[in-house]
């Protein structure tokens, strides 16, 4: 199972896309009566100040069903997942969760995954962790690894094959 299979538009992805679509429809139903565009989410948004993400517009666009437009836009990838919008919404709407669903949809539709996400996914797939053990440099420029520092062996999946099988199923089976 390779990264291409996990993210491609191949046949098995149909079910996954359907599931994410259902999730988006549910979010759409939940918010349609409640969001009154007060903009509290955007006023506190960490990514708004820097990258012009406007969570209240994301909610408005979803309300109008403009899902494809957002899935194709880079702006959904500027969210820092700080959860401030979900915390502070007076109507208990969670723009951050809408953004997660939209990004999942973009990936399941075979869109290019931006930046380093592919490497992170590949690493979890092969060793179970986001990255392998790194050597670090001390303040006085010595290079040390985990065992030099006196730390025990790292905990990671004991049977990588079984682990990989499980992860692959999530991406291709009916979820």
């Amino acid at each position: 199972m390779s990264i291409t299979d996990l993210t491609s538009m191949g046949e098995p992805q149909t079910e996954l896309r359907k599931e994410i679509n259902d999730r988006l429809c549910k979010l759409q139903d939940e918010i349609s009566d409640y969001c009154y565009q007060c903009g509290k989410c955007t006023s506190g948004c960490e990514a708004h100040k820097l990258l012009e993400l406007e969570p209240h517009k994301i909610v408005a666009l979803l309300k109008r069903g403009l899902i494809d437009e957002m899935v194709n836009s880079d702006v959904i990838w500027t969210c820092m997942s700080c959860f401030k919008c979900r915390e502070r919404c007076p109507q208990k709407i969670a723009p951050v969760e809408i953004l997660f669903a939209l990004k999942n949809m973009a990936v399941a539709s075979g869109k290019q995954i931006p930046g380093n996400y592919t490497a992170l996914l590949q690493s979890v797939l092969s060793i179970g962790l986001l990255q392998d053990i790194k050597s670090v440099t001390t303040r006085d420029n010595k290079t040390l690894n985990r065992s030099d520092i006196g730390l025990p062996d790292i905990s990671k999946p004991t049977d990588p094959t079984k682990f990989q099988m499980m992860i692959s199923k999530i991406a291709i089976e009916k979820v």
């Binding site: 999730r23 990838w77 997942s81 979900r86 915390e87 905990s155 079984k162 992860i167």
Partner: protein
């Protein structure tokens, strides 16, 4: 001594060794026994943007490993803590999802039942060890040390999932710091994000967020910046120089993990709490803990 399984996550055990080192020193000193378990994987939260179902399954898998050993978990990374807590909340209230996720776990002979509790280092120190016990253990009180704290977004939001500290006015780390004689002071930017999660696709913007907050902290004359999250610490300590360059500021702010500062006040040696691994100018502190 009460035993807890350590769930290390990914960032701490692969590069943020100072956090792991100081936790392994300081918690046993406060009568918390740490047990290492085999087989853990990523919590899945950093991949929530890619596939939410994967996040849920990975978290459930890790909880199932702890359940098998009959242990509660100590989770030092706020992001892992959020992922595991959210997973527990969903699987304990949604039987259909519980069944679906457990189906994935069958291959590895695991089963999630919801028996293990999840504790972050801050709630472990504040609520389980307790402020009085910390006070008793102090050998070198850090008198008048002016401290800025940084909790990390995932430790206090979203409160709907059940977070260890208050979402708008957390004071737990402050209480712990007061117990060791330090002087924590609230500042306007206290709850701001480090930007660390943007590293995957917008690393420059991540550094800008980091630099902006640290610059504000420096301007307000703090002696030291204390964090608890390996992602945030990677930004504020490991990448401080780069962050400074990104916002065109000369940043010289000592950044320590909470457990490192506790260790120093308990008289534990600098080497044992991994102080040589901090890349920010911690020598400026002159705590005399050698």
């Amino acid at each position: 001594m009460k035993k807890y399984g350590l769930y290390p996550g990914c960032v701490m055990p692969t590069e943020q060794y100072a956090l792991e080192k100081s936790i392994r020193e300081v918690l046993p000193y406060l009568d918390i026994e740490i047990v290492d378990l085999k087989g853990f994987s990523c919590c899945g939260e950093p991949l929530k943007s890619v596939n939410q179902m994967m996040t849920l399954t990975l978290s459930a898998r890790n909880l199932a490993i702890a359940e098998k050993e009959g242990l509660d978990l100590l989770v030092p990374c706020p992001m892992c803590h959020l992922a595991l807590s959210d997973c527990k909340r969903i699987l304990d209230t949604d039987p259909a999802m519980n069944q679906k996720i457990n189906k994935f776990l069958e291959d590895e002979g695991l089963k999630y039942t919801g028996k293990s509790s999840i504790y972050h280092t801050v709630e472990m120190l504040h609520n389980i060890v307790g402020i009085e016990k910390i006070k008793e253990k102090v050998k070198k009180p850090l008198i008048e040390l002016k401290v800025a704290t940084h909790y990390g977004c995932h430790l206090f939001r979203p409160s709907e999932v059940g977070r260890p500290v208050d979402s708008e006015n957390p004071q737990e780390i402050e209480n712990i710091l007061k117990a060791i004689g330090a002087n924590p002071i609230d500042y306007p930017e206290k709850l701001e994000c480090c930007g660390g999660l943007l590293n995957a696709n917008l690393p420059e913007s991540a550094l800008t967020k980091t630099g902006q907050k640290l610059q504000k902290v420096q301007e307000q004359g703090f002696d030291v910046f204390i964090d608890v999250c390996p992602w945030c610490h990677r930004q504020y300590d490991s990448k401080q120089k780069k962050a400074g360059e990104t916002v065109a500021a000369k940043l010289e702010m000592p950044v320590l993990y909470l457990t490192q500062l506790l260790g120093l006040s308990f008289g534990i040696s600098e080497e044992k709490i991994g102080l040589n691994l901090n890349l920010s100018p911690v020598d400026k502190l002159k705590l005399g803990g050698k």
